[in-house]
Amino acid sequence: MNVLILIAVALPVLGAVAVWLPSLRRAPLVAPLLTAVLVALAVAGLKLMPGGGETSTWWQVAPGLSIAFRADEAAWLFAMLAAALWVPATAYANSYMAHHRHKVRRFFTFFTLSLTATMGIALSANFFTLYLFYELLTFVTWPLVIHNETPDARRAGRVYLIYSLAGAAVVLAAMVATWWVAGTLDFTPGGLLAGASPAVIRLTVILLTLGFGVKAAVMPLHAWLPAAMVAPTPVSALLHAVAVVNAGCFGLLRTFYSVVGSAALEAAALSTSLLALASITIIIGSIFALRQDLLKRRLAYSTVSQLGYITLGVFSGSPGLLLGSLMHFVNHGLMKITLFFCAGAIITRTGIEHISKMEGIGRRMPWVMGAFTLAALGMVGIIPINGFQSKWFLFQGALTAGRPEVIVILLASALLNAFYFFPIIGAAFFKGEEKWQSEGLSSALIWTPVLTAALCIVFGLIPSLLHPLAAETVQSLIN
């Protein structure tokens, strides 16, 4: 049993319990942060330590059903992204909850438990483990969605639960199909379904797309995501821009390439229709985003649209597009968490939630809106920021894969992104009467978005940080 994996997956459970320690007054604030830091260190250590890629089996439930973990390239990429972003997100949540005092302990319990579920999904070595933690993720994030307990939140919680449970049920069906055809559930490079009949492969692929597509917000399964924006902003930031939706994308990635396998995927001949699905998600998601006045809802639809980039690469089955989509997997996480952090800071400091009321906000909160602007420019794909890179590799991939239509979609989407982000930035800085002032960097509400925005630039300026990792991952998945 690998100790680092044990820490990554099991420590957050202890952290969640520690939130309730009565003797420590600041336990609800310290325990989650400490947990997040330790988990991030453990995940980082997995790459450095030899033998991280070996499977460690924890428990054999029944023949064929075991709980096992392995930190291979794809697993590490997702685990590292989530664990690293968990640290600023927890710091941010601490400040946020200091302003919105409502059931703080409950909030941090489930916030920390979500880390276990996410790490479990990322590091799973077989389909059963993936399914277990995918199901678990729903149950531990549900209380976060309905945290405010308003009628709206309850409604959103119900929608979230219905979508997620139905999705997990479909995943279970796919798992049963896999088990029946392959006789094993262990993730294998090259997949398990290579020898199966095209009809079975097609059925499995469709089931996987529907099942993981719920959390990856593939249209038309996206409706829960904008609704879930009633959750507190740290939850929206972390879970609905990074952990939950990326868990969906990662589930697709994992099962498409380690369960179905790229050869079988080709045999199923579904990639054109799946690409169409992703393209529709990209375009319609952006169009919906245009019409939103609530900032968080606009960001949510933007997420729907941007996740389309990631699923596009996964669906295509071509190494080039997959590389781009993996880059975007990380880059989008960084940019979107920044945007949500900014939205939350604005709501906390000024109470403004609507874009139409944000005139002059940039002069009142220059740091926050500066970070927002950077991330938004990255979303559009302007050059020094990391969003440009993912798009660049997607373009290249589209050309090598012989799918020029993807380029058209990406360009159209970039334009739409500009349409829905630039007015916010314009109004924030150039309209209204406010005087320039600084909001001060002392609160985590302010410095976390600045930090993540800085990371966006770092990743944008130094492509070699991410590109080799993504290329390695593609290699491990497709060959």
Partner: protein
């Protein structure tokens, strides 16, 4: 020494059943304790018997020294020993709560209630061990009579009404079963299942005859087991009964009828001809209807006990589905679910009994905020509910998984679909309650007494069979292989 163990278990329970009312007036506490000890002893003996038959093969015992087919024969196979062990263990655990439950009862009622519980246990054991159709019928009736009595144990008027409804439909069921036994006897000349089965296998019967026998048995037993659409008595009966009785009726008794069906069908016809004659198909159809309809009815209930009772209608469908699918995997899934559901449903009934006692109402609104009042019982309720939904690592998932495998092995691809759909429906009616328990706004006072005896052992067993199902399933597959051969 071992050969008469099955009879010993039954007789011990029978005798102590009728001793209970004699002593209850003077020594109520002692009577309750002794009843518990007797049940635990029976449980221990049947576990021992189980270990024994797994090791040394089935035991046949001719009662009174009269050999079969003339005398009454009792057989202890891995299957029957397992079912009796499960039944006695759950009864024994539930009986831990008797002193608390009977606190305000008059001695008369308390004593006879213990009689009925022990009688019920004895009859279930007898029914499971019987290898003789008529003996089966007698214990079948004793089981029924004691369950009718138990349902009527409360003094409010809905109890009498529910019990009468149960009685009427149960009596129809019994008549069907007796008729089926009569036909079997007329056709084969035997009441002993082994002999009758040999006769049926050898004689070239007109295919309609086994079919009629099976149909009569199925109607009779499905009525007793509460399979849809013959479930109409079940929600009334299971909700009107005292909490411990609800737990047992839903958790154990209905399942024993399913086992009786499996024993009779496999015992008389054998797995292959069941499939050939379309009887398995019939069982599967009834099971699927029950699974879906039970869950749909449960969705609209506002009375927690009725909700749990409808959930039983759905869950008994799983057991019938497993038996209907056949094969070692299917039968093992059914047997596993008998245990798993017994533990889950008993925990759910006991935990909600506490909430009902506290709120004075059976409406599920009463669960609001119960998590703060009764943290441990409600945590166990949540655990059992999630297990019902079929979350991996919990017992409910193992059943589902084995049903999937059995369905796919039989090339019935709709089985996973139905089972998955049913777990979604389970989620739809259990999760709102779980939400109410932990996040609902409700009165947080009362609860001087937070303990629910028996709940912790049930939960421990539930977690254990969920986490470590392997040894158990190996045993059950052995039992299943024995039933099918």
């Amino acid at each position: 020494m071992f050969n008469n163990l099955p009879v010993l278990i039954v007789v011990m329970l029978l005798i102590s059943a009728f001793l209970a009312p004699l002593f209850v007036r003077r020594f109520r506490r002692a009577t309750q304790v002794v009843a518990g000890v007797v049940t635990w002893t029976a449980a221990g003996l049947s576990a021992w018997l189980l270990a024994r038959v797994v090791q040394a093969g089935p035991i046949r015992f001719a009662v009174g020294g009269w050999p079969a087919p003339w005398g009454i024969e009792v057989t202890a196979t891995p299957l029957s020993a397992f079912v009796v062990t499960v039944a006695t263990v759950i009864v024994a655990i539930v009986m831990l709560g008797l002193p608390r439950e009977q606190r305000d009862w008059p001695s008369n009622r308390a004593g006879w209630y213990i009689t009925l519980l022990l009688l019920l246990t004895a009859a279930m054991a007898g029914m499971t061990f019987a290898n003789d159709l008529f003996n089966l019928y007698v214990f079948f009736e004793v089981t029924a009579l004691s369950s009718w009595g138990i349902v009527a144990a409360k003094t409010d008027r809905s109890a009498a009404d529910a019990s009468f409804k149960y009685l009427m439909l149960g009596a129809i069921g019994s008549s069907f079963v007796l008729f089926a036994i009569g036909i079997t006897y007329v056709v084969t000349g035997y009441l002993n299942m082994s002999f009758a089965s040999a006769f049926i296998a050898a004689a070239q019967l007109h295919p309609i005859i086994p079919w009629v026998i099976a149909t009569f048995f199925l109607v009779g037993l499905a009525l007793k087991a509460g399979l849809f659409p013959m479930h109409i008595w079940l929600p009334d009966a299971h909700s009107a009964a005292p909490t411990s009785a609800s737990a047992l009726l839903s958790g154990v008794v209905v399942k024993v009828y399913a086992v009786a069906m499996a024993k009779v069908f496999y015992g008389l016809f054998g797995g292959a001809s069941l499939e050939a004659m379309g009887i398995s198909e019939m069982v599967r159809l009834a099971a699927v209807l029950s699974i879906l309809a039970g869950s749909l009815f449960a969705l609209v209930q506002t009375d927690i006990k009725r909700l749990l009772a409808y959930s039983t209608v759905a869950q008994i469908g799983y057991v019938f589905l497993g038996f209907g699918l056949g094969g070692t995997v299917g039968v093992a899934a059914a047997l596993y679910h008998i245990l798993a559901h017994g533990l889950m449903k008993a925990s759910l009934f006991l935990a909600s009994g506490k909430v009902i006692e506290l709120r004075g109402s059976r409406n599920i609104k009463g669960f609001a905020g119960a998590g703060r009042l009764l943290p441990l019982p409600m945590a166990i309720f949540t655990l059992a509910a999630l297990s019902m939904v079929g979350l991996p690592l919990l017992a409910g998932f193992t059943t589902k998984w084995y049903l999937f495998n059995a369905g796919l092995e039989a090339r019935l691809y709709w089985v996973p679909v139905v089972v998955i759909l049913s777990s979604l429906l389970n989620a739809a009616y259990f999760l709102p309650i779980v939400w109410r328990i932990w996040f609902g706004q409700g009165e947080a006072e009362g609860a001087a007494d937070r303990r629910v005896p028996g709940l912790i052992p049930l939960a421990v067993l539930l977690v254990a069979v969920g986490l470590v199902p392997n040894p158990l399933l190996n045993l059950l597959q052995q039992a299943a292989a024995w039933l099918i051969s």
